[in-house]
């Protein structure tokens, strides 16, 4: 039998994406998520129901602060937190999920923690993350 570790690596490699944008904890990012909608599953207004099940695909953007990157390899995930209408919302994405079309870094944050759970208890201005200062090029 060939090496067990190499078989596992190969299979997970085939599932991994190799073009993932580099981002860190504290960054504000835009995650473009592919969403499949079925119209038949939707509740029609005032008893209106469409007979056919239409499958629609669209891309939704979820913008927020990365508060955690967890795990490694194929099972790595990251958590994005945003405050929406005064309510905190957190979404966990698998890093290699095929449903993620792309990830954009909107703003780089300067943080001193690997996990930003402290943001959950803060409200308003206190829940902000400082922007990372661009390093001056050394000559």
């Amino acid at each position: 039998m060939s090496n067990i570790g190499s078989i596992l690596d190969e299979v997970s490699k085939s599932q991994k994406k190799d073009d993932i944008t580099n981002f860190c904890v504290g960054d504000t990012i835009k995650v473009h998520v592919r969403i499949v909608e079925k119209t038949a599953a939707k509740k029609g207004k005032m008893g209106q129901k469409k007979g056919k099940a239409e499958v629609k695909e669209r891309v939704q953007v979820f913008q927020g602060i990365v508060i955690r990157r967890k795990g490694g390899g194929i099972s790595e995930t990251f958590t994005v937190r945003k405050v929406s209408y005064g309510e905190g919302v957190e979404r966990i994405f698998p890093l290699h999920s095929p449903n993620i079309v792309k990830i954009e870094v909107a703003r780089q944050g300067a943080v001193r923690r690997a996990k930003l759970y402290y943001l959950r208890e803060r409200i308003g201005k206190a829940a902000k993350v400082k922007e990372k200062k661009k390093q001056a090029k050394k000559t």
């Binding site: 039998m1 067990i4 078989i7 596992l8 299979v11 997970s12 599932q15 592919r34 499949v36 194929i74 099972s75 698998p94 290699h96 999920s97 095929p98 449903n99």
Partner: protein, 210 residues
């Protein structure tokens, strides 16, 4: 058609499904297996096919096994298992069976030896509650009373008591084949299977689900 193979558990990982959901899978390197012997009701009293898996050096064999393999002119195999079939004459000695006897999306039963936990007490082995840790209870992880004195004045059969836990033949039924790699003889099966990685397992077509 024939429905079983000997294989080896590779380990667990995850793959993404069609909708982008992540599916936990166990990889099994199943086969290729070689038919070593046919057993018929006329001769042995039952119908079965004997399969061999994984090559082994000839010098490691005992004399009786050496003659067995040299008679049928098959490379010596390390693992030999039997599978019941309805008609053994469909197969030939020396025939190779590969992972393509299964289909993607169909269900299988996987049989292996579970991880040994050693001599375990009733809390670990049977999920007993146990007593309070403190307040002078003096009853912590013991099984408690196993039978009353006057009636029934004996211990019932099957009473749950400490003993060997694990390292036992375990079958998990109706596991879905998520992916199948014919070139590498790999099966990706949804969910967990008994035993540690590198362990020998038997993969058979599911009895209760197709």
């Amino acid at each position: 058609m024939f429905s079983g193979l000997i294989g080896r558990k590779v380990g667990m990982t995850q793959i993404f499904g069609e909708k982008g959901e992540s599916i936990p899978v166990t990889l099994i390197e199943a086969g290729p297996c070689v038919v070593l012997q046919k057993k018929t009701s006329a001769k042995e009293g039952y119908e079965a096919v004997q399969l061999g898996y994984e090559d082994i050096k000839e010098k490691k064999l005992t004399k009786s096994l050496k003659t067995k393999f040299s008679k049928i002119k098959v490379k010596p195999k390390r693992y030999i298992r039997e599978f019941r079939v309805s008609n053994p004459d469909d197969y030939e000695v020396g025939q190779e069976l590969k992972v393509d006897i299964f289909e993607e999306g169909s269900f299988v039963d996987v049989c292996g030896t579970s991880k040994g936990k050693g001599f375990a007490g009733v809390i670990k082995r049977w999920g007993f509650k146990g007593g309070p840790a403190s307040h002078g209870s003096r009853f912590h992880r013991a099984p408690g009373s196993i039978g009353a004195s006057a009636s029934p004045s004996r211990v019932f059969k099957g009473q749950k008591l400490p003993g060997q836990m694990g390292h036992k033949r375990v079958t998990i039924q109706s596991l879905k084949i998520v992916k199948l790699d014919k070139e590498k003889n790999l099966l990706a099966i949804n969910g967990a299977i008994p035993g540690a990685s590198r362990q020998i397992v038997i993969v058979e077509k599911a009895e209760k689900k197709s």
